[in-house]
């Protein structure tokens, strides 16, 4: 138990940087290469608040991939994700006048996204169907995927085709409560630190850790049969 909690405290993987970090690194690299100074979020927010709609378009372009990942991994449905993305950005645009900059725009947008998605998932209940995106070809070169598929003789992951694996993981995720699903999505899939998650959800870091631990236990039980 203590060992498991200790494992949760660690960042998802030191070898593979979190998604957000990777995106930032890529953006920095691009900016340096082209010597183009991109406006900061604060500038874009201020321009949007001054009535410049184009500035908000830039924020949409910048954050739609991350927001998509957050919502998609919580709903496991592409169409629902698309609708929710529209709603979240629309609400963010309407509420932009009230954004005071106490948190980053990224955190604020994710707060709106998480809350709207949790409400949607609760309302949807058990009446849902999976509508999964294709797994990109990059997974074949993913070190962790290779590790998982090459460990031991008769490993179930290796013997099961990829789409089946994807379906089982998503089904297991959908068995979690919306609050636990949100934590798993942000920490394990998106690679956010505990502090960031606690800000977005408005709970303490301890709560985030305990939710994570419980969710991992649940997921492990759900996927146990898959392992056998």
């Amino acid at each position: 138990m203590a060992k498991a909690a200790e494992a949760i405290d660690k960042k998802p993987s030191p070898a593979v940087p979190p998604a957000a970090t990777r995106v930032d690194a890529t953006m920095e690299k691009t900016a340096t290469a082209t010597e183009v100074v991109e406006p900061t979020d604060e500038e874009l927010v201020a321009r949007t608040q001054a009535g410049e709609a184009v500035a908000f378009d830039k924020l949409v372009i910048k954050y739609s991939p991350r927001l998509y990942g957050l919502i998609y991994h919580m709903t496991s449905n592409h169409e629902d994700t698309n609708d929710l993305m529209q709603d979240v950005f629309a609400k963010a645009y309407r509420s932009m006048g009230g954004f005071k900059g106490r948190s980053s725009f990224y955190t604020w947008l994710h707060q709106i996204g998480v809350n709207m998605t949790i409400n949607f998932v609760k309302k949807r209940g058990r009446r849902f169907h999976l509508s999964l995106d294709d797994v990109d070809s990059g997974i074949q070169n993913d070190r962790e995927f290779l590790e998982l598929t090459s460990t031991g003789h008769g490993d179930p992951v290796r013997e099961t085709n990829l789409s089946e694996l994807q379906r089982r993981i998503n089904e297991a995720m959908q068995k979690l409560s919306p609050d636990h699903r949100a934590v798993v999505t942000m920490f394990d899939v998106q690679g956010m630190p505990h502090a960031e998650i606690s800000k977005i959800l408005g709970v303490s870091e301890g709560t985030v850790r305990s939710r994570l631990f419980y969710a991992h236990q649940q997921l492990q039980n759900f996927l146990e049969e898959f392992r056998q």
Partner: protein
């Protein structure tokens, strides 16, 4: 999977490879803008007005409950004002007493007269201390009716009873210019 969830976390991280087609994000902004334009057309006027109102108050750092409180106060004030407007004259006033006793009996124009009952004159007549008001013959169709009414007024208001009289001309005869031949 071992007990410390390492393999589980590796499995979950594989979900990062689930992604929409690359053109999805290119088209998303266009879809979003199109939907925004449609919503602007559909938004009711009250919603636009409310958004502008809340937006205008935003710089003042008002707490969220302030809007609700302001609306509640405004509604309460409107209710009080409308109640005062709609409420009739209190039944304890002399005018109301006169109206309650006399008007129901003589609310209609007496037979043979085309002029309606002059309610304002009746009320002015009943108020103690007011200037004397003269009634036309049409308003007091008969001496007995006028007498009864004045007695009723005097009984209710406590004013001394007065004898009704007719005024046939706006100027008393005694004030008429003397005839000179």
């Amino acid at each position: 999977m071992d007990d410390n969830f390492t393999d589980l976390q590796k499995l979950l991280r594989l979900k990062r490879h689930e992604a929409p087609p690359p053109e999805y994000f290119e088209n998303f902004l266009k879809d979003f803008q199109a939907r925004q334009r449609q919503e602007i057309i559909k938004v009711p006027l009250w919603r636009i007005a409310w958004d502008r109102l809340t937006g205008s108050f935003a710089p003042f750092e008002m707490p969220r409950l302030a809007y609700g409180t302001a609306c509640a106060v405004a509604l309460f004030a409107a209710a009080i004002t409308s109640k005062q407007i709609l409420t009739t004259t209190p039944a304890t006033s002399p005018i109301a007493k006169i109206e309650a006793v006399i008007l129901p009996k003589e609310a209609t124009t007496p037979a043979g007269f085309s002029l309606p009952l002059n309610r304002s004159r009746l009320v002015a007549r009943a108020v103690p201390g007011s200037q004397p008001v003269f009634f036309t013959a049409a308003e007091y169709p008969g001496f007995e009716v006028a007498r009864d009414r004045m007695r009723a007024e005097a009984q209710i208001t406590g004013a001394p009873a007065r004898t009704p009289r007719y005024v046939l001309d706006s100027r008393p005869v005694s004030y008429a210019a003397p005839a000179s031949f």
